[in-house]
């Protein structure tokens, strides 16, 4: 898609849609994860607390029942050591140096009585003494020298001493961390996959819309018999194509009707005109000069009438966007030079100067005959309306993808009451001698070529007409110049 339209993918509607969809999806999954994470973390906590409380009870029991003799430390130590091997969520690598569990017994006075664990237990004792423990409610404490806090449960023995069982939160954290990592990887791939799916689906859907738009714009400019491509199924896109095609059917029918009407009108008017003109011409051949004058002027009137008829039909067809074009690639610069060469002597006769300001060849695609007649109309207008000694400047340049033609004179300018509706209907200036179809015809031709026209009066007097016409696609005239060369 992007390669054909020249538009990068990240500026397409499909890109925007997928971005928003992905954003919504991302937010949703994050909320779900936070909830899940809380739930899992608290569940792990609950399970290790339950283990701690259970074990500390058992150890307290053992410590109480064991006779306080030389073997006491060893027996209780062994039991504590065994218990520490059943730590929940335990990683296999911590088999030899067990620093994740400690057992601590204090006497009635709070002094350290028995220590099973990593180090001498003083740091742990200090940390425990800084907190107030209740039986059955484990607490998290920080121990100097350890980065990760311990979860500690306690039990009170009959002699008033206490046993403490501490479990490092390291393993618990590792489990949660592993869970989070896996979730993150899964989440990231889901988001990317979702983005890709949404992007490609919407791009595929929108490419139908784009094709329809392309076809529709093409139809508008050239051929009414074409139709936009339809897609199978009955979704919105298919409906859009069907509706457009039905609309085109109707337009084609009305344009066809208009052509039929104008054709029959033209036929009904042209046939008698032909007969009259022919009769006049043949009778002209038989007359002497003095008798010929009325016939000559009748022929001239007839030609004006024919011209009026032709222009009226053209304007009528163009107003209905039904002007029939036969487009070729035209160099406007060359065309203007030829037209100016044709008109310059007439202008010079009236002491009117005409000058072309052009940067060189500028190519458009258009109906050469119509463009010729359009420029002839413009120049005829200047010839008819300018007083002696005036100047016409014709500027041709290139604006983005449009050819811009500016016609500027220093004559009387447009009548203010005429200016507003110059192109819309048949209007004539107060001193105009034409039939008033000149500028509507120019407007019609410009619009049939997908261009635009505007008229204004210069600040320093004089009229200014600005015509824009779309440039030819690059390859069409490159081929032509190559051929010419």
């Amino acid at each position: 898609m992007s390669s054909r339209t020249g538009k990068p993918a990240f500026r397409s509607a499909a890109w925007r849609i997928s971005l928003w969809a992905t954003l919504a999806f991302t937010c949703g999954t994050i909320v779900v994860f936070i909830f899940l994470d809380r739930f899992v973390a608290s569940d792990i906590q609950r399970r290790s607390d339950a283990w701690l409380s259970g074990e500390v009870g058992v150890l307290g029991d053992v410590a109480e029942r064991t006779p306080n003799d030389a073997l006491y430390n060893r027996v209780v130590g062994e039991v504590a050591e065994l218990a520490s091997r059943e730590v929940p969520n335990r990683a296999v690598s911590h088999e030899t140096t067990n620093d994740s569990v400690f057992f601590l017994q204090t006497g009635r006075d709070g002094a350290l009585k028995l220590w099973v664990g990593d180090g001498d237990g003083q740091a742990h004792l200090q940390a425990i003494q800084a907190h107030t423990f209740e039986v059955g409610r484990p607490l998290s404490i920080r121990v100097r020298g350890y980065a990760i806090p311990f979860r500690v449960a306690t039990d009170i023995m009959n002699d008033g001493g206490r046993v403490y069982l501490g479990l490092s939160e390291r393993d618990q954290r590792r489990v949660v961390f592993n869970l989070r990592t896996r979730f993150f990887v899964l989440w990231l791939s889901l988001v990317l996959l979702g983005f890709a799916i949404v992007f490609f689906t919407s791009r595929r859907t929108l490419s139908h819309v784009r094709k329809i738009a392309e076809a529709a714009s093409h139809i508008g400019e050239s051929d009414l018999q074409m139709r936009v491509p339809t897609t199978p199924g009955n979704d919105e896109i298919a409906q859009l194509a069907l509706t457009l095609n039905r609309m085109l059917d109707r337009i084609e029918i009305s344009v066809h009707q208009l052509h039929t009407i104008t054709d029959s009108l033209a036929h009904d008017l042209r046939s008698p005109l032909t007969a009259i003109r022919g009769k006049l011409e043949t009778s002209l051949a038989l007359r002497e000069a003095e008798q010929a004058e009325p016939i000559v002027s009748a022929i001239e009137e007839l030609d004006r009438l024919t011209d009026f008829l032709n222009k009226s039909l053209d304007v009528a067809e163009a107003k209905a966007d039904a002007l029939r074009l036969r487009p070729t690639t035209i160099d406007v610069d060359e065309l203007l030079r030829a037209m100016i060469a044709l008109y310059e002597p007439s202008m010079n006769d009236k002491d009117i100067g005409i000058h072309l300001h052009s940067p060189g060849p500028i190519y458009i695609v258009g109906d050469e005959g119509l463009i010729h007649r359009m420029v002839a109309n413009l120049f005829d207008n200047e010839l008819k309306h300018l007083a002696e000694g005036c100047n016409v400047d014709v500027y041709l340049h290139q604006d983005d993808d449009m050819a811009r033609l500016v016609l500027r004179d220093n004559g009387p300018g447009f009548d203010s009451e005429v200016l507003a509706q110059l192109f819309t209907k048949v209007v004539k200036g107060r001193h105009s001698t034409g039939h008033g179809l000149g500028l509507p015809f120019v407007d019609a031709v410009v619009r049939a070529h997908a261009g635009a026209i505007s008229a204004e009066n210069n600040e320093d007097g004089g009229a200014k007409l600005v015509l824009t016409l779309p440039l030819a696609p690059r390859e069409s005239h490159q081929g032509q110049t190559a051929h010419a060369g």
């Binding site: 054709d263 005109l273 022919g278 011209d307 005959g369």
Partner: protein, 282 residues
């Protein structure tokens, strides 16, 4: 006059020639009244006379349903020297084409019994080779192209100037003649054009012409003795099919005339009001 025109390169194709009723008389009449007394007044050298000479022995079929148009075409073309047959519908035309061999056909597109283009197609299938000039009230480029694609050789929109019709008929007939030697010099009376060096002289005196004026004069010379209309000049010299409602062509002709006929010489370029211009070859 006739000998002169044959010498211009028109081959005698008199094999199939059958005198058209009244043709001889009319020809003699035009030859006497028109061309022998042409110096009496400007009007007397009327287009029909000026154009008549070349077309001897050419047989022509007009297929046209409008009586008035048929009538004046018959009159004008007979005066121009063609042997004219008439048909008011496609069926009659086909019947006539079976019996006779025509050098050229004029076919109107809007016939009562069928479309003119269908008629051309079926005539071509019957083996009619002659060039066909299409007459039509339809003016759009589409119709023109369709007509030319379907076997027509030229296309003229109604209403038309007689001079243009005659010029087109002449061109169509010329197409059937093998191309002659490419001219390098044109000579009309004491006017001479060197087509290679793009120089013109009148009575040996060089004329200072712009390139455009030279092309215009060349076109007039190539059609010396025949009327050319303004739209023909615009089409052939400038390559534009336009109908200016100002006098652009007249000004060009006026300037050219100033240079060609300027030095008190007798006028070569003559205006026929309501019709066009003619470069007189006599």
């Amino acid at each position: 006059m006739t000998i002169c025109s044959f010498a211009e390169g028109w081959p005698l194709r008199a094999v199939r020639y059958q005198p058209h009723s009244g043709f001889k008389e009319r020809f003699q009449k035009t030859a006497m009244t028109g061309c022998s007394s042409e110096l009496k007044s400007e009007r007397s050298c009327a287009p029909a006379c000026v154009l008549s000479a070349n077309i001897l022995c050419m047989r022509l079929l007009i297929v046209e349903d409008e009586h008035d148009i048929r009538a004046f075409l018959q009159q004008a073309l007979s005066e121009a020297g063609y042997a004219v047959d008439l048909a008011r519908d496609g069926k009659t035309a086909e019947g006539l084409a079976k019996v006779n061999t025509y050098d050229i056909l004029i076919v109107d597109l809007g016939l009562p019994d069928q479309d003119g283009i269908n008629l051309i197609t079926s005539l071509r299938q019957m083996g009619v080779q002659a060039p066909v000039l299409i007459l039509s009230a339809r003016r759009s480029v589409d119709d023109r192209v369709r007509g030319l694609e379907q076997g027509g050789d030229d296309y003229l929109t109604k209403p038309f100037a007689l001079a243009e019709l005659l010029a087109r008929l002449r061109n169509l007939l010329k197409r059937n003649v093998p191309a002659g030697i490419e001219l390098t010099r044109l000579r009309v009376q004491d006017l001479e054009l060197d087509l290679l060096r793009r120089e013109a002289t009148r009575s040996g005196q060089p004329l200072q012409l712009t390139p455009q004026e030279f092309v215009l004069l060349e076109y007039l010379c190539r059609n010396a003795g025949r009327v050319v209309t303004r739209s023909m000049i615009l089409d052939k010299v400038w390559g534009m099919r336009i109908q200016p409602d100002t006098n652009v062509v007249d000004v060009h002709i006026y300037r050219l005339r100033g240079k060609v006929d300027g030095n008190g010489q007798w006028p070569l370029i003559r205006t026929l009001r309501g019709v066009g211009y003619v470069l007189q070859d006599r």
